[in-house]
């Protein structure tokens, strides 16, 4: 199921040159902002929760998920070099699974780790806030990576659609229409975080059982369907 060569190539494509720059810049910004906030406001649980929830989980994790998830397969399909990979005796599902693992790992390293550090800077893990949001970021990384990897195999405009989902659906509609929140990776991850934190600092609109089931279903279905898409991939010409 896991092919080290495919993994190595994917890591190279994801972390090569400028991509690594933007991937690294976002976490650095988060940590810089939390240092500023700590200096400005001192340690405060509510502030820490707002910052980690608003900036880290709602904005940074999806964007890094989009870059890593679609970046793991999109450019290869885009420039046609994926045929060289597909012509090797490696199962398509293995390719997808390996790329998913890499995308998850990259998203986790660049989003969950800085979230954890930022949480500790902000309030030294008071009320388990840092740990709770780190767990949320870890869980969200898995679902986002699977979802955006699928988008990468389905559409040439994967990045845009991924961002539309992350920014318009989760952020805009999620704040206006309560029903949209049930269908949002962010809220599912928050449900898990709520369980970890225990207090009333981290809240979610979705119950924990629903959230875990939905998370698992989305991840598995997206990965399976991405494998199916790759089995019948047609290389379209440039528009």
């Amino acid at each position: 199921m896991y092919d080290p060569t495919v993994a190595r190539l994917t890591y190279r494509a994801l972390l090569g040159r400028r991509r690594a720059l933007i991937l690294g810049a976002l976490p650095l910004l988060l940590i810089a902002v939390s240092v500023v906030v700590r200096g400005l406001a001192g340690a405060d649980d509510q502030t820490a929760s707002d910052l980690l929830g608003g900036l880290a989980l709602a904005t940074m994790v999806p964007i890094i998920g989009v870059i890593a998830g679609t970046g793991a397969i999109g450019p290869e399909i885009d420039d046609g070099s994926v045929v060289y990979l597909l012509s090797k005796p490696v199962k398509r599902s293995t390719i997808i699974f390996t790329k998913l693992i890499v995308a998850i790992a990259v998203t986790m390293v660049f989003s969950a780790l800085p979230t954890f550090i930022a949480g500790f800077i902000l309030n030294g893990n008071g009320q388990q806030i840092a740990v709770a949001y780190t767990v949320a970021a870890l869980v969200a990384s898995i679902a986002y990576a699977a979802l955006f990897l699928l988008l990468g195999t389905v559409s040439r405009h994967a990045v845009v659609f991924g961002l539309v989902y992350a920014l318009v659906w989760e952020a805009l509609f999620g704040s206006l229409v309560a029903g949209a929140r049930t269908l949002s990776v962010q809220q599912w991850a928050l449900a898990v975080a709520q369980k970890v934190a225990g207090g009333d600092m981290v809240t979610s609109d979705v119950a924990l059982p629903t959230a875990t089931v939905l998370l698992a279903v989305v991840t598995v279905l997206a990965t399976w369907y991405a494998g199916q898409k790759l089995r019948s991939l047609t290389l379209a010409g440039e528009e």
């Binding site: 040439r156 920014l167 318009v168 528009e239």
Partner: protein, 310 residues
Amino acid sequence: MAVEQPTRTPVTQSGDQTRIHNIGYRTYDGPRLGRSYATRSLYSQSLRGAYGLGRSVKSKVLPMLLFVVMCVPAAIMVAVAVATKAKDLPVDYTRYAIIMQAVISLYVASQAPQSVSRDLRFKTVPLYFSRPIETADYVRAKFAALASALFLLTAAPLLVLYVGALLAKLDFADQTKGFAQGLVSVALLSLLFAGLGLVIASVTPRRGFGIAAVIAVLTISYGAVSTLQAIADAQSIDGGGSADAITWIGLFSPVTLIDGVQSAFLGASSAFPGGVGPSNGEGVVYVLVTLGLIAASYGLLMRRYRKVGL
């Protein structure tokens, strides 16, 4: 000792048999439309491309969808205002773009790379420069095209609001003033966003990566700035002297920059936490930074395209 080169003797008999036939090639002697015409063509082609016109159906979907998403809330607001015979529109002309900033950011992010990254990727830039146009013409045409496309996107809902307000028989002078202020503000916003988007997109030939980079710059900076402002606001209520901090933090993201400019000079109520926008003195700094950013992005684009190798 030099080896004697074999003298090359023509196989066929030279002389009378070879001749150059005049097969009637003619030089072009029609009108030459010149540099400004080429620039205008590039401008109109880029502007049409920004809405997917003249491109495949698939690439029309997103810009048109975003355009509709921009206009529909305005239409709903107008409908509500007309139906309830309200005294005023539910939202200020200047505020509309700030509320819809996520949609505008998405539009810039999707169309700026489509405008310049594909030229880089398919190496068509040298072909452009083999025509009479020069670096400045190319940059100006692309910049103007994206700014115009953005202006269309942001001004159309304002027009919907304005027409609706007149139909609802709201005060004409008041509405016209608000509409004019809104137009100035979205014109500034279009120039600023187009400049930032093009500078980022012109660095990378990869469309997907360009989109992610533009959206990261626009959205993350806005997220970070508004979070910091909210915290500074909470601090100033507690009694600290950081009310000024809200204003100065606002300089660091494009959306809050425009918000600051319009609340200082265009009669808008600020969307900053606490509702306190910059004063006139601070507003000057906002205007200078905005114009500086537009000029800087023009300068950077000129630098970027000074040499476009194959």
